[in-house]
């Protein structure tokens, strides 16, 4: 019945029902969920509405999906349902260079937007490392960050308005410039649990006149993170401030030959964009702090090609891990920037305790750690050690006043950890918003909120 009705409404080519086709949608870039009952590939907002109505009629939940690059199961079904893939809604609908804004469909690939507007001297600032494949819709769902959100802010700072299909299949619009409640902000980062974004107005930025990229090497991760804390404490917020430890740098070099030194304990990749006149002063301030904190070398990327190579290496770092480990678990926590040395130390201790190799490559300037825990999934002891050490890292971050996700989201993978950061009252307050937008919990169920057993108060309200 479900299949027939979806095919009637969207056409056979837009509905996948064969188990071998559905299997792909049970995964994201890390987690494994359950097979959906069907996958639809709508071409328009109307088709999204139709799919939602049919799914609801048939009692199926809805799971919206971008490129599936998430790591926490946000786009993966946990109890069947209809997956709505935005692969075919990938166009730039409008581009207004004078007003520096664009209206895009959710399936548009992040980097394709910046490419689309580049000739006008503009770019779209949020740049998750997955930007070559991840979509604007997915970025909106997770309030995606990236190296450059250090100075430009995360996705929510760049979304001006949304077109949304609600849990009944009706369409509504939000606009940050309208009075009333900031529904745009509520929807961004809501991981598809409050509505399904079918179009977004986004803000574009002017490409800066000058960009410099520097590399500083340190004897160890502690001294490098100490330097990061000192840079932030000095009030300096470069456009990006990234760290890579020796293991990560070796993997990246093996894969990309990007130009990272592999003989030091840690390397900082620092980018500043802005005015040419400011660059020398900025460089000397940064280099001075780096040296005071034990930097062993300081180097400027001289050419565009050199800068591009370094960034390609940084953004490909997770993929490069395949060179050193059959599997890895990428944790995402965020701590106060002044506690970075302590946090890195804690990660190191945890890894030692569990006998796990850990590689660090992360957004140091934001305090956003991404320890990659290496393991072999064929070895059940290692799997268990990784699960436990991943949880320990969450607890360590919370103990330092941090949070359980800086930019990847909660999905189903981290939802039980929400009770460690928030009180029942905090979560129940969030659930009030859910009650309004998705009273039946039909939109991406079993995500973000802890399972009922752990937190009964956040179960749906029966009116």
């Amino acid at each position: 019945m479900l299949h027939e009705r979806l095919i009637d409404a969207l056409g056979a080519d837009a509905v996948k029902t064969a188990p071998e086709d559905l299997a792909v949608y049970a995964f994201d870039a890390y987690t494994t969920g359950r097979l959906p009952a069907a996958v639809v590939l709508p071409r328009s907002t109307q088709e999204v509405s139709a799919a939602v109505r049919i799914a609801r009629d048939c009692g199926e939940p809805i799971v919206p999906r971008g490129a599936g690059t998430g790591l926490c199961g946000g786009a993966v079904p946990t109890e069947g349902g209809v997956v709505i893939s935005f692969a075919r809604m990938n166009r730039v609908l409008a581009f207004d260079p004078a007003r520096r804004r664009a209206r895009v469909q959710p399936g548009l690939i992040n980097l394709d937007l910046s490419r689309h507007v580049a000739a006008s001297g503009l770019f779209y600032a949020p740049d998750p490392s997955s930007q070559k494949i991840s979509t604007i819709g997915g970025n909106v769902a997770t309030n995606a960050g990236g190296p450059h959100c250090l100075s430009y802010g995360t996705t929510v700072n760049h979304v001006l308005g949304l077109e949304v299909v609600d849990e009944r299949g009706d369409v509504f619009h939000t606009d940050v410039d309208e009075l009333g409640y900031d529904l745009t902000a509520a929807l961004v980062g809501s991981e598809g649990t409050l509505g399904i974004v079918t179009a977004a107005w986004v803000r574009l930025m002017r490409v800066p006149e000058a960009v410099r990229v520097w590399l500083a090497t340190f004897p160890d991760v502690e001294s490098a993170s100490d330097a990061v804390s000192a840079i932030v404490a000095a009030g300096i917020v470069p456009t990006a401030l990234e760290m890579m430890d020796r293991i990560a740098a070796q993997a990246v070099e093996a894969a990309f030959h990007a130009g990272y030194p592999t003989d030091c304990g840690a390397v900082l990749l620092i980018e500043n964009a802005g005015f040419e006149d400011d660059m020398n002063a900025c460089e000397s301030a940064l280099a001075r702090i780096a040296r005071e904190r034990g930097a062993t070398s300081w180097r400027t990327a001289r050419t565009q090609a050199e800068r591009d190579a370094l960034w390609a290496g940084r953004k490909g770092a997770a993929g490069a891990m395949g060179r050193i480990s059959p599997n890895y678990y990428l944790q995402d926590v965020c701590v106060r920037r002044s506690t970075l040395p302590k946090a890195l130390h804690a990660v190191d201790e945890i890894a030692r305790t569990y006998g796990i190799t850990v590689a660090n490559v992360f957004h140091a300037g934001d305090g956003n750690l991404h320890p990659m825990l290496c393991y072999d999934k064929r070895d059940r002891t290692q799997v268990q050690a990784v699960i436990e050490s991943g949880n320990e890292i969450l607890r360590a971050a919370i103990a330092l006043g941090g949070t359980v996700s800086g930019e990847h989201g909660i999905g189903f993978e981290k939802r039980e950890a929400m009770t460690e950061v928030y009180s029942t009252a905090d979560l129940a307050t969030m659930a009030r918003v859910r009650d309004v937008f998705d009273p039946a919990r039909a939109l991406n169920p079993e995500k973000i909120f802890p399972s009922g057993a752990a937190c009964p108060e956040v179960k749906p309200q029966r009116p």
């Binding site: 700072n157 809501s190 002044s338 969030m430 009030r432 009650d435």
Partner: protein, 397 residues
């Protein structure tokens, strides 16, 4: 006052279904519909603690009743700022400024107030105390409740604490006072948008002589504020002067002393009343339409024989229009019809100041938002008895 006491007061009001009016510094009392006659004022000014000053993290946590001045003074010690840019900072509170959704003139450069909010503690109508976010600068753990409360006019809950990202204060600020003859205006506006060093704020002002620096004769004046490093300042100055010169502007005066005070006086002017003889509207929109929007509003005021003072934010497109008349009665005789006519021209115009008694009769919020029904549902879920600022916000939220 403590957050627990605030919680207890609200829980009582919720139980007794007593409407309350949330009061901060009362600096934006000209916004929104007047409080119900039987609403009990609930002042948040006693929540005035700087909870956690964390300069090494470039963050700060303050209670809702902290004044903007107190916040700025604390941050100035570390050479940082939070650019809220709301009027009367000595009295305005952080909670009130955020609840009112105030948008300042430097937001094109530094972001909106909501974009520096990283965490909050809210007290809901039923007394529930709930936290969201934290003290980290990146966080996607659950819904972004803090931003939802910002701009909600105290109708979803009371902001008891807010955690903020701070930014380094600029090395240098410089004010350019510009006489702006009519024939140069359009080109001057266009020039500002394309400058290499984007001004921190730029206003085209007509009137407001008692509040805002400079003399405009009959033609209007422009105030441009640059904020940048020492290394950039002189080049930016030369660029600005020559660009404005090419636009036909006869004179650009450079002022380096007292620029911060000039800047604050100009923002204070947004809500400056002329006794009970004025009503001030705010109109948002695209920058490239701001001049036309202002001219249309000025022409309309003339038709009604009302005096018009205007501030046009040339970087963000906001138009501030203050209409006034010789006495309160003269204003009262025309203001309702003017209000209708202005909303035909600018449907989203909303009132931000004016002590005139007939303010209660005006469309003080302009057009309702597209998603009003959903907002109403949210209001009902957060404040089922409607005790928080009842009837005061847009669409009766």
């Amino acid at each position: 006052m403590t957050i627990d006491e605030l919680s207890a007061s609200l829980a009582d009001a919720h139980r007794d279904r007593t409407p309350v009016t949330i009061v901060g510094g009362d600096t934006l009392r000209g916004m929104g519909r007047p409080p119900l006659a039987d609403a009990i004022p609930l002042s948040v000014r006693g929540l005035d603690a700087i909870v956690e000053d964390a300069p090494a993290d470039l963050t700060i946590a303050v209670q809702g009743g902290v004044t903007l001045r107190a916040l700025a003074q604390t941050l100035a010690r570390h050479g940082t700022q939070v650019p809220f840019d709301a009027p009367l900072p000595g009295e305005a509170t952080v909670g009130g400024t955020l609840a009112a959704g105030w948008l300042g003139p430097r937001r094109h450069l530094y972001g909106r107030p909501r974009d520096v909010a990283i965490g909050s503690t809210i007290v809901l109508a039923d007394g529930t105390v709930a936290r969201a976010g934290g003290m980290v600068v990146k966080n996607v753990s659950g819904y972004d409740m803090s931003r939802l409360y910002i701009g909600s006019f105290g109708t979803l809950g009371v902001l008891a604490r807010i955690n903020l990202k701070t930014i380094a204060a600029p090395e240098r600020t410089r004010l350019f006072a510009i006489r702006l003859p009519e024939h140069t205006r359009a080109r001057a506006f266009a020039v500002l948008a394309s400058l290499r060093v984007v001004p921190a704020a730029a206003w085209w002002v007509q009137g407001y002589k008692a509040q805002i620096d400079g003399d405009d004769g009959a033609e209007g004046r422009m105030l441009v504020f640059l904020e940048c490093s020492d290394a950039v300042l002189e080049g930016a100055t030369r660029e600005l002067r020559s660009a404005l010169g090419r636009a036909g502007v006869p004179e650009t005066r450079v002022i380096d002393t007292g620029t911060r005070e000039s800047f604050e006086r100009a923002i204070d002017a947004y809500v400056a009343n002329v006794g009970e003889r004025s009503i001030t509207y705010r109109m948002h929109g695209f920058v490239d339409e701001a001049e036309a929007r202002a001219l249309g509003a000025i022409a309309l005021a003339r038709q009604f024989e009302l005096r018009a003072d205007t501030i046009v934010d040339a970087m963000n497109g906001d138009v501030i229009l203050r209409v006034s008349d010789l006495d309160a009665r003269a204003l009262g005789a025309k203001i309702e019809m003017f209000d209708d006519a202005l909303h035909d021209l600018a449907p989203s115009a909303f009132v931000i100041a004016g002590a005139h008694p007939s303010r209660a009769l005006l469309q003080v919020w302009g057009a309702a938002p597209a998603a009003l029904e959903r907002m109403r549902a949210l209001k009902a879920r957060f404040d089922p008895h409607g005790i928080l600022n009842p009837g005061r916000f847009v669409g009766g939220l």
